[in-house]
Amino acid sequence: MNALYSLLFVFLLVLIPLFGVDAAHLRTFFGICIPVTAFIIFLIGFIYKVINWGRSDVPFRIPTTGGQFLSYDPKMFKQNKYDCPQTGAQTFVRMVLEVFAFRSLFRNTAASLHETKDGHVVAYKSSKWLWLFAILFHYSFFIVALRHLRLFLEPIPFFLKGMEFVDGLLQIGTPTMYLTDVCLIAGVVLLLGRRLIDPKINYISYASDYFPLVLILAVALSGIYMRYYAKVDVIAIKDLTMGLVTFNYHVPETIGVSFFIHVFLVSILMAYFPFSKLMHMPGIFLSPTRNLPNDTRAKHHVNPWNDPNIKAHAYADYEKEFGVPMAEAGLPLDNPENGKAPEEEA
């Protein structure tokens, strides 16, 4: 149901620029106003959110340790430096592995129950599908996004050309099919499929989990349609996009409606980003179980709101309360007076 809502919603979103541009001729509105506004919302929303996280305190160092810590004898017990970092540099490597290789997801296992001849068994097997889908999706999306830089840069940097060359290496069709386009679609479809088919994942999914996937799928499909089927006027589009970055806005007449649909969907994605779970992208950098070294027994860490007024129940009070039986039991007392029974005092 949640998936259906999302699909329907994205479908409606496609209709907006379709009618807006074709019927109402709002070319400047959809070509300039919407994307610029969306980009501003994205930028401000994104930065605001990250700053807002950053303003919250980190009272304790709580890394999740994923291996042997730095031992008293590191030769005898080898430290697992990147799953249980002790220093800033090691923590940096842990973060790099987490961000670029999805290290934790790579560890994934699947638990299952079995009835065997030897009795009941809970089995765990390595399960890297989610990792594979996620890598496929994120890297394709990243490269596709990077490729779009060619629309905003003049001259086009050589690394972009190199990347495009590699991406189009198979040389299928005209214009040449990009591998990342295929991988992006595959990644989204696999992630979406997993969410629909796995009953556990399906159960925890909201409309807000399907919507970004469907939206990104629509963005990718509209882009592919533009490039391979509608064969839009790329020169004119570059004219528009260069106008955006040089604040010299104009919308050439030769740009087809498919471009406006693509841009509108991207705009929705940008505007939606800061208010959604897509913020996991910057969030991982601020995750206290990953970005802190496991060094709190060796180095002092300050809790900004540590309350010095919270003190131990004082030993003196303890001795006052239990002094008599303590004395009887022969336990040493700091204040011998505490050991006297009340009637002795009188």
Binding site: Y5, R55, S56, D57, V58, P59, P63, T64, T65, G66, G67, Q68, S71, Y72, M76, F77, Q86, S104, R107, T109, A110, A111, E115, V121, V122, Y124, A134, P199, Y203, I204, Y206, A207, S208, D209, F275, S276, M279, H280, G283, L286, S287, T289, T296, R297, A298, H300, H301, N303, N306, I310, K311, A312, H313, A314, Y315, E319, P325, A329, G330, L331
Partner: protein, 556 residues
């Protein structure tokens, strides 16, 4: 006990298919057995007198009743407390925002594996809180509540929190597998803090907390009784070894203060581990003292709120300063070591006296720089270093009747990284050591299902279900390697693993690592032992009157 299903029946009753109704619409089962008993009002009155304003109103109430007698302004209190904690804990704020519900954590939780209840998937446990976060604090959640899985704080929501945040043992296994490191333990801690504000609490946690403040330990053992117990242990040790060991209590002027969980003073099999400590220290003629005032290593405050965690923990340095100790040696315990390793110095480091120094073994001279800030050393680090320097005469054959596996406690594994030291000690004191399957040990270890204050009888079935992953892994090595002993370095484990093993892998006993050290420790050349630490005949070393010699020594 009687209405607990048999192990086989329980196993086959587990169904991972989610209910037809969405999780927000699925009602919560409040029948007895699903919740821990609330705290006695007098305990909460006492706590309120010591740390005012954190506990709501003390009262008699029951989660089985419809009316939980919440204060009139409970909603405001919880929502404001939530908002306040979002600013105090970045972990909470970030974890509220960044979950993508990928489901990697879903089958990592022992409570989910053993129950199939989707609200025991870490992602949904956290969603119980996140849904409120979105509904109360975010724009998207306020305007599109259904689509974003948002809701506002209602009494039913709070009640659901009470059930499910007391079905989390803060073991952090989910956080290991989460691609963003989202830690359900953090959220459980926060949810429990919030529930305390409106007087929702459990006696199994709050009575130990109150006890610990008064008597110095969770069990409420008063100083003279503590001394009696230690004297009994000294007597038992004399019966086993013929040696009368020293057990200094509350003495000034020793270098080392030794603190271990009080559970080990109180019940089998923890006491044998405690006796092991006493023997080891006597063997070394260690300059140390025990304390009746700081007689608790564990910290049930960490299952309660950060304030009481700090208050209980503060005793350790307070006592070290009073007695003039240079550093603290800590016994085998799980959550105690999470608190000591990740919280103690931050909370109370500034109360360390000038006499305190980096822990240094007086026997080997090893300086333990990795604990330079806390000045507190784990006993397996200490013992492992002794063994490495060949300072202990050990006869591992005294443990030959034990076929041993090792249960990594969650906190030393995932909140510290102490994995090899205990294994080194175990391998040095016994000849038959077998690891459980890889996915159930070290950083991937499974909880005993009784951590974080859940080790109570009234939720035994929940605990046994949660104990399935550990129990099944134990059964595996029992079948494969004839394992008959599971060692652990945690006092809560020593209590909870017994019913767990009896249920899932009957015939396996539970031991502390230092109980095995004590068995193997040779006090003096030619020392004969006929009894193990449990005062049971040592197989192969029985007291026999005849001059029988072991076959392998016949030529000598």
């Amino acid at each position: 006990m009687s209405d607990i299903p048999k192990a086989d029946e329980l196993f086959t009753s587990i169904d991972y298919a989610p209910p037809i109704t969405g999780w927000m619409e699925t009602p919560v089962d409040f029948s007895p057995g699903n919740w821990c008993y609330p705290a006695k009002p007098e305990k909460m009155e006492y706590m309120d007198s010591k740390l005012p304003g954190l506990w709501g109103k003390a009262r008699e109430w029951s989660p089985g009743d419809l009316d939980w007698k919440l204060p009139a302004n409970w909603k405001e209190t919880v929502v404001n407390g939530f908002r306040e904690r979002l600013d105090k804990f970045r972990s909470l704020k970030v974890f509220m925002d960044i979950c993508v519900r990928c489901g990697a954590c879903a089958d990592k939780c022992h409570f989910f594996i053993g129950s199939g209840d989707p609200k025991n998937m870490p992602v949904l446990r956290a969603e119980l809180m996140r849904s409120v976060y979105r509904g109360e604090f975010t724009l998207a959640g306020k305007i599109m509540s259904k689509l974003t899985g948002s809701r506002v704080m209602e009494e039913d929501v709070l009640k659901e929190w009470f059930i499910y945040f007391y079905q989390c043992t803060q073991c952090r296994r989910c956080s290991l597998f989460c691609p963003y490191g989202i830690d359900t333990a953090e959220m459980t801690m926060m949810a429990r803090e919030l529930m305390h504000l409106v007087g929702l609490n459990t006696n199994w946690i709050m009575e130990p907390v109150a006890n610990c403040n008064i008597t110095g330990n969770h069990l409420g053992i008063q100083p003279h009784a503590f001394k009696d117990i230690v004297d009994f242990m000294v007597d038992d040790i004399e019966e086993i070894t013929g040696r009368r060991v020293k057990a200094p209590l509350n003495e000034h002027g020793h270098d080392i203060l030794f603190i271990t969980p009080s559970g080990d003073v109180f019940a089998d099999p923890g006491i044998y581990t405690f006796m092991g400590y006493l023997m080891l220290f006597d063997y070394l003629d260690l300059d140390y003292t025990l304390s009746t005032y700081a007689s608790e290593g564990g910290n049930f405050g960490s299952f309660t709120n950060n304030e009481v965690m700090k208050k209980l923990n503060a005793k350790m340095y307070h006592e070290a300063n009073r007695l003039g100790c240079k550093w603290i040696l800590g016994g085998e315990c799980g959550h105690m070591w999470r608190v000591v390793h990740q919280y103690m110095d931050t909370m109370n480091g500034d109360t360390q006296g000038p006499q305190m120094t980096t822990p240094t073994s007086p026997i080997t001279g090893t300086v333990f720089d990795t604990s330079a800030a806390t000045k507190m050393l784990h006993i397996t680090e200490f013992t492992s270093d002794l063994i490495k320097h060949n300072k202990l005469k050990l006869d591992p054959s005294r443990n030959d009747h034990l076929r041993v596996t090792f249960h990594d406690s969650c906190n030393p594994a995932r909140g510290m990284g102490l994995l090899e030291e205990p294994r080194h000690v175990i391998r040095s004191v016994c000849n038959n050591f077998f690891e459980m399957p890889e996915s159930t040990i070290r950083e991937q270890t499974f909880c005993c299902a009784g951590g974080a204050g859940l080790n109570t009888e009234e939720i035994l079935e929940i605990r046994l279900r949660g104990g399935l992953p550990r129990g099944n892994a134990l059964k595996y090595v029992q079948d494969k390697h004839d394992v008959n002993t599971m060692a652990c370095i945690c006092a809560i484990d020593r209590a909870t693993l017994i019913p767990l093993a009896d249920y899932w892998a009957p015939g396996v006993i539970i031991t502390g690592v230092h109980e095995m050290v004590a068995n193997a420790l040779v006090f003096e050349e030619g020392e004969k032992r006929t009894l193990d630490m449990r005062l049971e005949p040592l197989p192969g070393f029985e007291d026999e009157e005849d001059d029988w010699t072991p076959p392998n020594k016949e030529d000598a």
